[in-house]
């Protein structure tokens, strides 16, 4: 597991985001157990209250569920929920900055659309 933290956002938020990413990519499959607060806190040397706050956010977002006495598990449908959310965020997270950068570079709309098409044709997507 590869976690990397910086100062860009509160620590619990970065932890939640990175765990969500691991669920999204399938590193933790649905129904699979994720590391406990204790394990994460010791491994990453992060205050357990911070880890718990991050985990609880994922519980609130219905990505994780707590099973009494057994630990935290990835909820059924978690990957789909993440996909839906990311689709909703796609415009704001990617398109806005893409267009802003294109404008700075003087790339016109038609050219940008061409470039996107090229990405589809040659990319791995």
């Amino acid at each position: 597991m590869q976690f990397e933290f910086d100062q860009s956002a509160p620590l619990y938020q970065q932890l939640a985001d990175q765990l969500a990413e691991m669920i999204f990519t399938g590193l933790f499959a649905e129904g699979e157990q994720v590391p406990s607060t204790t394990q994460l806190s010791q491994e990453l040397q992060i205050n357990p209250a911070t880890v718990l706050k991050g985990m609880n956010q994922l519980v609130d977002e219905q990505l994780l569920e707590k099973k009494r006495g057994r630990g935290m598990f990835v909820r059924a449908g978690a990957q789909e929920r993440l996909t839906t959310k990311r689709r909703e965020d796609f415009y704001h997270d990617y398109v806005v900055s893409l267009v802003a950068e294109a404008k700075k570079l003087g790339i016109e709309e038609a050219h940008l659309l061409d470039l996107i098409k090229r990405g589809y044709d040659h990319g791995q997507v």
């Binding site: 933290f5 100062q7 860009s8 509160p10 010791q42 040397q45 992060i46 205050n47 911070t50």
Partner: protein, 286 residues
């Protein structure tokens, strides 16, 4: 568990004022950082609140009970410090037995931790190197059954591997038996993620006492063309400022005005705890 309350503590050495009317509270089962530059008064404060020296005024309470001279309260408070209070030939196991009588002591867990530092309980503390002596003292501090454990420079002389081991053991023991730790250290970057609360002492006063996350949420580095940075930070308290050619970089530790638009070319970044600390305690600019 009871709260630990410090009320209006002042201390003078002769004419020199070391602590000036300090008040704060520690909650049960939380990890705090006590940060301050050399000479800020950290060690004096720790010695007062653990009843090793007297304050000129003020009170330290555990729940509603005064700590000074109170054996029951003092059995809940442990200070690991740089000062060596042990006789020359004392072995680790003998110290542990003494601590056990006052606080209770987890011998099994202590032996496991010692092994991690390549030590055993027959080690004579006075004969150990600085780093290993620190390690032995840490193992003592992490295994006393006190609800408030104060660690004054707990990483003195420890190499990087042993510091990491200490941070891991701290997290482990904290989760197994939640209690309050107060860590006084200069290695701020290394402990940032371990801390929940932070108390910053500067020039004999407390200048910050809040959750680390709250402090960092309002700690910024702002950089860009000097005129634009000045315009954006007008009215804010600029703690440090430096200039590289036309680019000015300033630090601010306070909420930014919501309604003010960040000019193009001006960049905002959050500070880490160490840079927040140096910005707050920096005297006379850069």
């Amino acid at each position: 568990m009871d709260k630990f309350k410090v009320r209006g503590i002042s201390k003078r050495y002769g004419k020199k004022r070391v602590l000036d009317n300090l008040s704060f509270e520690l909650e049960p089962a939380k990890i705090y950082g006590l940060l301050g530059r050399n000479g800020a008064g950290k060690t004096t404060l720790l010695n007062i609140i653990t009843d090793r020296i007297f304050a000129n005024s003020g009170q330290v309470l555990l729940g509603d009970a005064t700590v000074a001279g109170n054996r029951a309260a003092l059995a809940q408070i442990y200070l690991m410090s740089e000062a060596d209070l042990v006789a020359k030939h004392t072995k680790f196991s003998e110290l542990a037995t003494v601590l056990d009588a006052t606080y209770g002591f987890d011998f099994t867990e202590a032996r496991r931790m010692l092994a991690g530092f390549d030590l055993d309980d027959q080690a004579v503390l006075a004969k150990l190197s600085t780093g290993l002596k620190t390690a032995a003292k840490l193992v003592l501090a992490l295994n006393v059954r006190a609800n408030y454990v104060f660690l004054d420079e707990p990483t003195l002389g420890l190499d990087a591997n042993h510091r990491e081991l200490f941070y891991q053991e701290l997290m482990k023991t904290y989760e197994a038996r939640p209690r309050t730790f107060v860590i006084s250290t200069h290695l701020i970057n290394e402990v940032q993620q371990l801390l929940e609360g932070v108390i910053i002492l500067d020039d004999s006063k407390i200048i910050k006492d809040q959750p680390v996350a709250d402090l960092l949420a309002n700690a910024y580095e702002i950089s860009g063309p000097a005129a634009k940075v000045d315009e954006y930070t007008a009215g804010l308290t600029v703690l440090t400022s430096r200039q590289l050619g036309k680019i000015k970089t300033v630090t601010v530790v306070e909420p930014l005005p919501d309604q003010r638009v960040i000019p193009d070319q001006v960049k905002l970044a959050h500070l880490d705890l160490q840079h927040t600390f140096t910005a707050l305690t920096n005297k006379g600019g850069n």
